[in-house]
């Protein structure tokens, strides 16, 4: 399974659209959001930090959900079928795919954090940086499962569209691009129950020097269960036809 993981990570990192849209785009957006219209002294540090976390979360979410695109592609190529006649078990294939998403999240999240530290002068304690990376990494699990579910359930082309749609919707409503504080009241209330918002909150709580709240963890755990159930359902359905 480690070999499978290595193969898939390699394939993902060689994917130009992943490197451009998955890693480059969030970095670019972060730089734009924190320099445009920010006045002569630049954006306030508070905004530089929260935008960094928001866009790192956006990058992580995109990489995680994007694992489904590769999966759907492999399904349409007949490669998943070919894997079924190797000694590699079906569960190893799914888990390997899931872990691929988890691994490719790291460069995406890391790039935004790095730009925050080096370009935008964000200063955090060492433990905060470490906790930020770990939480933004682990917190992508629900989105990986959502991506896998879509990848098993939909055709290759539809998966790309649906995953991008999910990514944009979750990111905007979750307040990853623009802080949810600026939303009207009803949307802010809705936002705080969405997975992307709670995912970013994992990171924001660390930058404020605290631990994530219990509600945040509970809401994310609930979404993990929902998307996990969806992924299992989609996988079972697909297993009959792969």
């Amino acid at each position: 399974m480690l070999d499978y993981l290595r193969l898939e990570v390699r394939r993902t990192l060689r994917d130009k659209s992943f490197v451009i849209f998955g890693i480059g785009m969030p970095v670019l957006m972060y730089l734009l959001f924190t320099t445009l219209g920010a006045g002569s002294g630049g954006a306030p540090m508070e905004w530089r930090v929260s935008a960094m976390v928001g866009l790192a979360a956006y990058a992580g979410l995109g990489a995680a959900i994007g694992v489904g695109n590769g999966l759907a592609e492999d399904r349409s190529l007949g490669w998943l079928r070919q894997l079924r006649i190797t000694p590699l078990g079906p569960v190893q294939v799914v888990v390997g795919r899931g872990l691929t998403g988890t691994v490719t999240v790291l460069p995406a999240v890391g790039a935004v954090l790095l730009v925050g530290a080096l370009v935008n002068g964000v200063r955090l304690a060492a433990w905060q940086w470490a906790a930020l990376v770990v939480l933004l990494w682990l917190g992508t699990a629900p989105f990986t499962l959502l991506g896998l579910g879509n990848g098993y359930r939909l055709s290759s082309q539809t998966t790309g569209l649906v995953n991008t749609g999910c990514l944009l919707l979750l990111s905007v409503v979750g307040g990853l691009w623009f802080p949810a504080d600026a939303f009207p009241g009803w949307l802010r209330a809705l936002s705080s129950w969405t997975p992307a918002n709670r995912f970013a909150d994992l990171g924001l709580s660390v930058t404020r020097g605290g631990a994530p709240g219990l509600t945040t963890v509970a809401v994310l755990a609930a979404w993990l269960a929902v998307f996990g159930g969806y992924a299992v359902y989609a996988y079972r359905r697909a297993a009959r036809s792969v």
Binding site: D3, Y4, R6, L7, R10, R11, R14, D15, E73, D74, S76, L77, G78, W79, R81, Q82, R84, I85, T86, P87, L88, G89
Partner: protein
């Protein structure tokens, strides 16, 4: 079928296997046993049930009824144990990975794989190891799929229409490698719709049609059974009724105004036709391989609108439904 003195185990066993897709019966009671070390061709037209048979054999598709065994075990178990390698139809190149990376990965999933360089060599890819698979030509990509099947050094190699995208030279190289692999004592099952290919490269040919085994034996035996001559003439408006009863005639086909008779005794048939004054444009020719195959699979009966005159192979004496050679 050389050197069969040593009793061997059974590699593949189908007994009473059926499989439907909706109302379509793809496989209709298939019985087949392949001993270890045999090279067997599964011959049939498109839609005869070859791929369905292969998918059930590999555990990709459960049989509707009956049992499928690989080395005496469930297909999935034999696959998990790394005893099977397969080249599926319609596999497309895996993008963003080099040939060597992919073959190395597949090999590593097997317990006793082949050396990667050896697999590349056998598949004719020695010079392409560093190339990305999505940048290869169609024929080269097909060789990659062959290498994927070989990489694990499996005891049973299953190849579903393996030469479809290959040119003549690549085809020859492919069969050369396949026979080399068979000589190591491995079992090989390949499907094809070319009788010639089956005849040239298999010890044994299993002809399937409409999901059933219609003939099973060596290439020579299949050809002998399907042999005979082809007698054709212009009907010029004559009735076709008495034709199937003429001496030697095994099948009748009407194409437009021309009648084609397959016969096991062309002299007797021609004499009888002369008696009926049906000799306009008369031609007698030996039945070729393709004709033999069409006869075996009863394809003439399918394509001919006047099908009541065309008999299915099982109806007449020349072709017993099944005979193991």
């Amino acid at each position: 079928m050389a050197g069969t003195a040593v009793p061997r185990g059974t590699a593949v066993g189908f007994s009473g296997v059926t499989r439907n897709f909706g109302a379509v019966r793809a496989v209709a009671g298939l019985d087949l046993e392949i001993a270890q070390g045999e090279t067997v061709a599964l011959l049939g037209r498109n839609g005869a049930g070859k791929s369905t048979t292969i998918n059930m054999l590999l555990g990709l598709l459960p049989p509707g009824s009956g049992t499928v065994r690989l080395f005496g075990d469930e297909p999935a178990a034999a696959v998990r144990a790394g005893r099977v390698g397969a080249m599926l139809q319609d596999g497309k190149p895996v993008p963003r990975v080099t040939v060597r990376e992919l073959i190395g990965f597949v090999a590593a999933t097997y317990p006793h794989p082949m050396d990667v360089s050896e697999a590349l060599e056998l598949a004719g890819l020695a010079d392409f190891g560093g190339r990305r698979i999505d940048r290869l030509s169609g024929g080269q990509a097909q060789r990659v799929r062959f290498a994927v099947a070989l990489a694990g050094n499996p005891e049973l190699l299953v190849l579903d229409e393996p030469t479809a995208a290959l040119d003549v030279e690549a085809r020859r190289a492919f069969w050369h490698s396949m026979r080399g692999y068979a000589r190591r004592g491995n079992t090989i099952l390949f499907s094809t719709h070319y009788l010639e290919e089956a005849d040239d490269h298999a010890d044994r040919i299993v002809v399937i049609d409409r999901g059933r085994v219609v003939a099973d034996g060596s290439g020579a035996a299949i050809k002998r059974r399907a042999g005979g001559s082809l007698v054709s003439f212009d009907l010029a408006g004559a009735g076709t009724g008495p034709l199937s009863g003429l001496p030697g005639v095994t099948a009748v086909e009407i194409r437009g105004d021309r009648a084609l008779l397959r016969t096991s005794d062309s002299d007797a048939t021609v004499r009888a036709l002369a008696g009926l004054d049906l000799i306009r444009g008369l031609q007698v020719s030996p039945a070729g391989l393709e004709d033999a195959f069409l006869l075996l699979t009863g394809a003439g009966g399918d394509t001919d609108p006047g099908a009541e005159n065309a008999r299915t192979p099982a109806d007449h004496g020349v072709l017993p439904p099944k005979e193991t050679v």
